[in-house]
Each structure stands twice: as C-alpha cells, then as structure tokens.
C-alpha cells in the first residue's frame, strides 16, 4: 500500500485486534488493522474444508461468554451488526462404555436430574456450587476478567476481607494451592460426574492436574450452560466485528503483514509492512499477536534488553493442543447411551471416552511427553442447532482430540504422516459410541492437525491455541511475565492486546477490553462505552 497514517495501528485482525480497533474507531480515532492472512478473524475461522456448503469451524467453536462479555453490547454486534447465537438447550454430555450418559442442559433441574442418576449427593453439590458461583459470577468476572489484573495477593486479601471462608462453601483462599482434581475429589463422589466436570474444564484449556487452577473452577461451573454456537460459523463473529469497525470508519487490511514495528526515541511510531510501505501511528501501535512475532521479529532482539528477550523466550506455551477431524455427514449420531437418556442425541458436545479422572491425568501426562494418545475425542455437531452450516439434510461434524504439537516420535512434521490413520481411529471411537454411524454416513472428512494450526495461524506458536499456558503462575499481573504484563510494554505507545495477555485466549475479548482501559488511561480516550 502507499504510505499512510492512522491514530492507531493494530497488528492482527483476530477478534481481540478488531474489538480494540472498533472501540477506538467509535471514539473517533482513525484506525488501521493490519493482518497477515487473507481473512479477518484469526481463530474465528470457518472454512468449507470438506465439501461446499459444509461450514467447519477450524479453530474457535465454543463461545462461552455471550451475555457476560461487555463487547457484544458495546459494539452492538447482535443488535446492529447481524451477529446471531444459539445456546443449545442440551449443552454437553458424556457417554460411557456401559451405555449410560450424563447430560448437561441449560435447565439446571434437568442437569441435576441427570447427575442424580449417578449420585444424588453430587447432584445436590453441583446445584449448590452452581448457584453459589452464579451469585458472584458477574461481579468476579467483571473484576477478574474484564478489568486490568490485580495480583493474586490483592485478590486473596480482598477475599479474606470479604470473609470468604465464612460466606462461601466452595470458594476459598486455599484453592490457589489446589488442582481441579483435588477440588473434585473434595466435593464430589462419583467418578463419572467428576470425569464430566474434568472434561468441561479440559475443553476450556484447564488441565485437571495443574496446581492452582481450582481457583477458576467454580466460575467455570457457573457458566457450564453458557456455551453458544455462532450461527453461520464462528467467522460470522469476525464479520460482525468488521462491520462495526468499518461503519465506524476503521479499516482492515488483509494480506498486509507487518514486518517491523517502527520505534523512534523509545516510542512506537508505526509499522513497516512486508511490501516495504510505512504506516505511521499518531498515538499508538497495539499488537494482538504472539510475543515471539511482536518482539523477536518485529522489533528485533538487537533492539531489546536481554531481560525482555528472556521473558519472551521463556514464556510457557500451552502444554497441549488439538487434533481435529472435520466431517461432512448425512446422519446425526444416535448414541448407544440414548436408551439410557434420549437427550444425549441432542447434546451439542459429547465426551467420547473419558470415564474417570485417572484417564485425564494419564492423558495430560502423556500429551506433555509428546505421545499420540489413545483417542478419546469429543464430538460436536453444530448443525443440530445451526442448520445453516450444512446443506439441507446433511450435517457438519467435528471431532476434537487432545494432542501434542511436537510428537516425541518424529516431531511436528510427523503429523502429516499419521493424520489420516489417526483421524480414522477417532472416527472409529465415534462409530462405537453411535453405532448408526458407518463410513457411508460421511460424504467426506478432513483432518486438521497441530501442524496445520501452525501453518494456518502463524500467531499460534507451537499450535498454542490459547496464547500461553493456563497456569496460576501465568495469570493475572504475571501474564505473560513481569515486564510485558498489563498490556503496556517498555516501549512507549506500544501495547499488547491479544491472547498472551491476561486472562488468556478463547473468545473472551478480555485482553482487548482490558488493553482498551489501559489505553484510555494513557491516551485520554473518552470512554463512550462506560
């Protein structure tokens, strides 16, 4: 492009980059978003991977903060910009080998009835945790997710001052020393109930054996029924963000990869694009992409203090990623377990294979060791609730399997060799659980490996889909590390607004929303959104 100037230059047109751009554009700023790929949306990526008309969500499939995250309302995504969601009434299920099933509904009573078939006590406990967490959910999410982070120490103090140990049955300052497993073992008794709740945590990137993650668990449970499908595929959210931004005067430039961030006198003043043109930023540059790209490539080691380089290089990436099979289907699965609970056939996301916590623990251990796991995929058929994602009479299916990026045997490149066979093994698990499915039920299927993630999304270093390990040591004011946390960087006017920042990736918008708050403070942006 020819050289240009904007008030704000945003690197990366993922959902965080576009949301920040949207707020700034609506504040009257001129904003240019520069994206390396030929689509906006980043992980909000929907493609016809198998056959035309089958819309496969290649990355983000689950939208868990609809109705909670302020961005949807502030940018009028639903009311003005065409975004549509459906909240499946039957959200998730686990089907077990003996033909039983545990089903989570949006109707709490139904969920509790399902749990009660395994354990009456656990059903009561679940209801109690859910209701308690529901009570403080919005307050805590507002404070913890949608505000620039405070330290764990401050949070602990606040909880003690509030009298958490007396007032709450499940929240405790001691959770910061506990794993989700320990929380589950402490409060629940039935293996399968615990397995399903562990499955729920795993889907959100929360390892069940990692110390400290129990702190978030009551909150995860409080929105266990708030998982939404974006009608028309997750890319539709990107489109609505783009429309909000474009109608406010902002611009998104696709295939305009940033090569360098221009720094003069310690201040970020713009970017140089891969085509050599320069784009100046009057007020700020904000990066929504990885630390490695932003600092090591776009600023360059030679321009960075050793401490900052070390922080980037030692940033812990997520310890597991996923292998997917995307299927074009002519049948909906009918599970063996439907004779136990017919609702399982209506469940959006189904856990196929995890029966107890030990299996999770083993898999977390093995995936960290780079092993190809014995498949226990989860199956999601969005077409159950979004018929627009497949041709009439057909269905779009997704199998997701926890997987390492770097295979111990053969490294990441090995994925190209094993993908098809491993995909078939995942499908076979599904066929066993839902015997009406046969090879004839699939018009076509495509695998999507951890290596493919890296090929498509250069931002997802080591196929890290959530922008850094989910770990207490990598959260709050410590994410991604002491120097680069809290959205500011040592370079004036250079901000971080993506998944590497508190709280983490996923479709939360929180990194962008919190970066916006910091930017508003620094740059005196009028807060039209408050």
């Amino acid at each position: 492009m020819s050289d240009a100037t904007f008030d704000a230059v945003i690197i990366g047109a993922g959902h965080n980059g576009m949301a920040l751009a949207g707020y700034l554009a609506k504040a009257g700023w001129s904003v240019g978003v520069f994206e390396k790929r030929t689509e906006e949306g980043g992980a909000l990526c929907t493609e016809e991977l198998t056959r035309p008309g089958f819309l496969h969500n290649v990355h983000a499939n689950y939208h868990t903060l609809v109705g909670i995250c302020p961005v949807y309302d502030d940018l009028e995504l639903v009311t003005r910009h065409g975004l549509r969601y459906v909240q499946p009434p039957v959200q998730m299920a686990s089907v077990f080998q003996d033909g039983t099933a545990l089903v989570v509904h949006t109707d709490l009573n139904k969920t509790c009835e399902s749990i009660a078939r395994f354990s009456r006590k656990d059903a009561d406990t679940f209801r109690a945790v859910y209701e308690e967490a529901r009570g403080y959910r919005d307050l805590i999410l507002r404070t913890l997710m949608y505000s620039p982070p405070t330290s764990m120490k401050e949070i602990t103090k606040a909880l003690v001052a509030w009298g958490v140990e007396e007032k709450s049955k499940y929240l405790s300052v001691h959770l910061r020393h506990q794993t989700i497993n320990e929380f589950l073992d402490h409060h629940f008794e039935n293996d399968r109930v615990k397995a399903h709740l562990a499955f729920h945590a795993s889907l959100a990137g929360y390892a069940t054996d990692r110390k400290g993650l129990a702190v978030s668990f009551p909150l995860l449970l409080s929105k266990i029924d708030n998982w939404h499908i974006c009608i028309g595929g997750s890319h539709a959210l990107a489109h609505s963000l783009w429309e909000a931004l474009a109608q406010a005067g902002g611009r998104v430039f696709l295939n305009h990869g940033v090569e360098k961030i221009l720094v003069e006198n310690g201040k970020a003043v713009g970017v140089r694009l891969e085509d050599g043109s320069e784009v100046r930023a009057r007020h700020l540059v904000a990066s929504s992409i990885s630390l490695e790209q932003t600092f090591l490539q776009m600023i360059g080691r030679e321009n960075l203090p050793a401490s900052l380089t070390a922080e980037v290089e030692h940033f812990p990436h997520m310890d597991s990623t996923f292998f997917s099979v995307h299927l074009a289907m002519t049948k909906l699965p009918e599970y063996r377990a439907a004779s136990f609970d017919p609702d399982v056939n209506q469940a959006w996301v189904v856990n196929l294979g995890y029966e107890n916590q030990k299996q999770f623990n083993d898999d977390w251990r093995d995936v960290r060791a780079g092993k190809l796991l014995n498949p226990r995929p989860n199956a999601a058929v969005n077409s159950l609730y979004d018929p627009t994602d497949a041709p009439q009479g057909c269905y779009t299916g997704l199998l997701r399997q926890m997987a390492p990026y770097n295979l111990a045997k053969g490294g990441p490149q090995e994925w190209d060799k094993v993908a098809r066979e491993y995909g078939q093994r995942c499908i076979d698990v599904w066929k066993t659980a839902a015997p009406n499915l046969s090879d004839d039920s699939f018009i076509d299927w495509a695998t999507y490996t951890p290596l493919d993630i890296v090929r498509r999304m250069p931002n997802m270093v080591f196929a890290d889909w959530i922008g850094g390990l989910i770990d207490l040591g990598n959260m709050l004011d410590n994410r991604p590390g002491p120097i680069l946390s809290e959205y500011r960087t040592p370079i004036a006017n250079l901000y971080m607004c993506g998944a590497t920042q508190h709280p983490h990736g996923f479709v939360t918008f929180a990194p962008a929303y919190n970066a916006l708050e910091i930017i508003a403070q620094d740059q005196h942006v009028e807060r039209w959104w408050k």
Partner: protein, 537 residues
C-alpha cells in the same frame, strides 16, 4: 412487521452486489446486502484448499478490468487494501517437444510479443500487433460500452450511446473486416487471420476462457473482447478474495449492512412492486425502494418470485432459459515444492515466469477437440489446462520457498455427470494432468507435489450458487457488453433490478453492479458521479 427494513435490499454479496451496494449507500440509501454463503465475494474467492498456508483462487483468477473499473477508482479500493500487479509475461503456451514457447506480454511490451510470435510467423506477429494496437486505441470506447447499460434502458447523455456504437463499427471496418463478418465464429476468424498453430492454439484458449463458444459465437466479440483484454491481466495480491474484501469494505464504509448466511428464498411483492425479501430462516426484510438481485435470472424469477407470479413475457423467457456456457471451469489446486521448469524455457526463460501458461496442447486442433468434448458433455480425454503460479509474484500465497498453483480445466456442466462420476473426476483427473504436465516440465513429479485438490463444476454449483457451474448467468454472446442480453437491469416488476453477470457479463468487471446503479440512479434521481466528472462512462 418486517424483521428489518432498508431502502434497498441486495440479494447476493458477489462483487457486483457489493459494487451496487457501495454506490447506493454512498448515494444516501440505507442498504442491506443478504448473502447465502459465510463469506463475501462470490466467485472472487480464495481458500487454503490444499494445505494451510497455500492460497488457492478456486474461481476468479485474473483481473482484466482493473484499469477501466469505475468501482475501483470511485471508491479508491487500494485505500481499503486492494493491491494488484500486472506481470510482464502474461499469456504463454509451452510445448512438450521443447520447441520455443509463444509468449504474449503486457501491452507496453509489444516488441517482445512481436518477437515471440515472429519465431513461428512474422506475418502473425505483424497482424497481431496491428489488430491489438487499433483495438487498444479504442480502449475508452470499448470500456464505455462495457460500463454503460444498453440505450434501451437508459439513454446516455449527449448522444453517447450513438458515439460508442459508431466508434465500434468504425474500429471493425478499420481492422479490415466486412460488416457481415461480425457473425463469423471465433475459430473461423482466428484461422483466417493467423497462420501459426501456436498462436491459434493460444487464441482459441483465450476465447474459451471468456466463456465464448469457439465454434458458434461471434467474431466481432472475439476481436473486441479477447484481443482487447488478452495479456492485460492483473493479479490480486493476497489472492482474489483480498480484492473482494476491499469491495466489501468500501460498501461497509459507505454504510451498507452485510448479512452472511442469510439465503433469500423469496422476493416479496405487492401490487406489482418488489417490497422486500424473505430469508430461509423465515425473517422478512422490507425494501422501501428496491430489490436488486445478484443471482442468476432463473433463480431470481422462477425460484425467488415464483412461476405463478411471473408475467407472460417472463414465463416465455424462462421457458427458453438455459444455463450456459457449454463448458465450465474445473480448478486444479497444487501445493508445490518448486515452480514448474518448462522444457521450452531454454529458448525463452520468461515462460517459467509467465502469469498464465497453457499446458497440454501441442497445436490448435487439440484445443478445439478438447473444448468440443466439454461442449458435448464429456470430460476431455486430454487433461490440458491453463495454469497460474501466483506465488512467483506474491510469495505470501505460499509458505517460504514453496509455490501455489491453480489452473483451469474446462468441463461439461454439472448435470452432465452424476455425483459419483464427479467424485471419480475429483479423484483421478489431477493425476492425469500431472502426468501430462511432467512431459512439459520434467520437475513436475509427484515428489514435487505436497498436496492437490480438484474443484469441479458440481462444487461450483453447490459452493457459489452458480447453477450448473455457470459463471456467466446464462449462455452468453462473447459480445455482451453494451448489447442487450436476454436479461437486463430493470425488470418488468417495479422496484426489481438485476445486477449480476446475467446483465453485465461474467468476470470481475463490476459492470453488472455499476450499470445497475446507473439505471437505478436514473429511476430514483440519485447522484451520478460520471456526469459530475463528465466521464465517458
């Protein structure tokens, strides 16, 4: 109560729908564009079809109208991210026996084109240069013909309709043709004008690419369109979709709303006037002033309005409707480790860096036989193709050091084969092409291919809502610009307009959208930028 209300409702976010939407929104109308797919651009479409990181244009490949397109300039599409380049070596044909390639360069490099054609025939080289020079000198008027609705719909200002047609006739005569030769089919005309089989093969292929029937369409159109635009091809940096994205961005910035995954299933009308649309999920959208359809006429009139509601005139037209052309694109995508290195390159290395390279045909007869097979409903035995390796100019379209290739086969219409037969074509035909390709470029071996995929007529139908894979919305005369086609912009239903390829022709010209705007601007008293700037079109 409708679920939403707009002044203008546009059916389809193909590039023509986006163009019309942008102009209408800029003119102050509240515009809603309703798209069936999950993405904008229709045939202006790019996918990571083989391996992530390799970008493939599954449909529209080259942009021949960039220099003329009013939409591109009026909305300053580069300011929305559009970037195009025009490679030097444009159209080439290469040979398995290793004889020199024939390369046609961009118009500014006429000497090089002359030298390349002259290797086979000095007379052809002189003739090609003379015809091309005269046609290009009439560029403004040919463009005006493309970017003006027919005079039967809107009488152009200041006698322009007459001036444009007059200039065309004058050009035809200046080229040394008789008026009665206008209806000669392109093959006959090419054979009469050019003697070398190499140039004839290249011209046949270019003609077919235009969707023209080599054996029955009109020679006038061949000269005016094919010679005019041949080797003036631009490539969209980042893939064709990037261009569509900039068009959508222009429409959004002008205030239009763009709604994806919103197939229109009915055009609502009341008292003979189009009043809105109904979407597949039941929502109704009010159109206070007009509805414009970017879809093909059969879909628009028969499926969306309904047979019973059609006028006698339209029933008659639709009874005689046929999708066309007789041949449809099949798009092979190859992810390559190395770009092809042709035997013919030892004579002229430019063939290895030619934007569009014809592979698989040793002479003109083979091209003619090939296309006759497609016309006849068969998959051509000889799997020759036109090929593009866009990563030669735009490394962003492939991972570092690797290459992305797309081509065009020509296949019969979707309904000529069963779904199972198309599956077989998908499975086998790329492999056959690769074997043939290898005889032209010895490094094109299976080991050089990381992955490949073939997109066939049936895929085009289901993905793009181009019934039968028809990319030109009905069988076209090659000479459709300016001439009333069977289906024009203003329909017999008040407030219903056509804005797609059926009226303006296929290809990424945005003529359908722009001309529809001219007609609508005339009917509704909207601003007329071409008048303000006193442009020819």
């Amino acid at each position: 109560m409708p679920d939403a209300s707009y002044d203008a409702v546009i059916i389809g976010a193909g590039h023509n729908g986006l163009c019309l939407g942008a102009y209408l929104a800029r003119a102050g109308l509240k515009v809603g564009i309703f798209e069936r797919r999950h993405d904008e651009g229709g045939g202006a479409h790019t996918d990571e079809a083989t391996v992530p990181g390799f970008w493939h244009n599954l449909h529209a490949q080259y942009m021949e109208f960039i220099e003329m397109m009013p939409f591109y300039r009026d909305f300053d599409l580069p300011s929305f991210g559009a970037r195009v380049i025009k490679p030097d070596a444009q159209v080439g044909i290469t040979f398995a026996d290793g004889r020199p390639p024939l390369v046609i360069y961009r118009p500014e490099l006429a000497d090089r084109t002359h030298a390349s054609i002259a290797y086979y025939s000095r007379r052809d080289a002189d003739t090609f240069a003379a015809i091309r020079g005269k046609v290009l000198a009439a560029n403004d008027y040919i463009s005006a013909m493309l970017y003006s609705p027919p005079a039967s719909e809107v009488k152009l200002e200041g006698g322009r309709s007459e001036a444009i047609m007059g200039r065309m006739l004058q050009l035809w005569l200046d080229l040394g043709f008789q008026p009665q030769e206008m209806n000669k089919c392109p093959k006959v005309l090419i054979d009469e004008v050019f003697e070398s089989t190499e140039l004839r093969a290249t011209m046949y292929r270019q003609c077919v690419e235009w969707g023209a029937n080599l054996h029955t369409a009109d020679g006038f159109g061949f000269v005016m369109c094919v010679i005019w635009l041949c080797a003036n091809h631009y490539m969209s940096i980042g893939g064709t979709h990037t261009l569509a994205h900039s068009m959508a961005a222009a429409a959004l910035a002008a205030g239009a709303d763009l709604r994806y995954n919103s197939p229109v299933v009915e055009i609502l009308n009341s008292g003979g006037r189009a009043t809105g649309v109904r979407l597949k999920d039941g929502r109704t959208i009010e159109a206070r002033k007009l509805v414009a359809s970017n879809a093909d006429p059969k879909t628009t009139f028969v499926d969306l309005i309904g047979w019973d509601k059609l006028s006698e005139f339209r029933k008659e037209r639709m009874s005689n409707w046929r999708f066309g052309p007789e041949h449809v694109l099949g798009t092979p995508s190859f992810a390559l480790r190395a770009a092809p290195d042709y035997k013919s390159a030892r004579h002229n290395p430019d063939i290895n860096k030619c934007f569009y390279t014809i592979v698989g045909f040793e002479n003109a007869q083979q091209v003619s036989d090939y296309i006759l097979q497609a016309y006849g409903g068969q998959i051509p035995d000889l799997p020759g193709a036109g090929t593009w390796v866009n990563s030669l100019w735009d490394p962003s379209q492939a991972p570092a050091g690797m290459h992305t290739m797309n081509g065009w086969f020509f296949f019969p219409k979707a309904s000529c084969l069963s779904a199972q037969e198309w599956d077989n074509v998908r499975r086998d035909y790329n492999g056959k092409f690769l074997e043939l390709w290898n005889t032209y470029a010895p490094n094109m071996t299976r080991a050089n291919v990381i992955a490949d995929k073939l997109y066939v007529s049936l895929d085009m139908e289901s993905r793009m809502a181009m019934p039968e894979g028809d990319f030109s919305h009905g069988r076209l005369s090659i000479m459709n610009p300016g001439m009333p086609r069977a289906h024009i912009y203003r329909s017999e239903m008040e407030g219903l307009y056509m804005c797609g390829a059926s009226a303006g022709g296929g290809g990424i010209s945005a003529a359908g959208g722009y001309n529809a705007y001219k007609v609508i601007a005339n009917d509704y008293g909207l601003s007329k930028p071409w008048q303000r700037e006193n442009r020819l079109y």
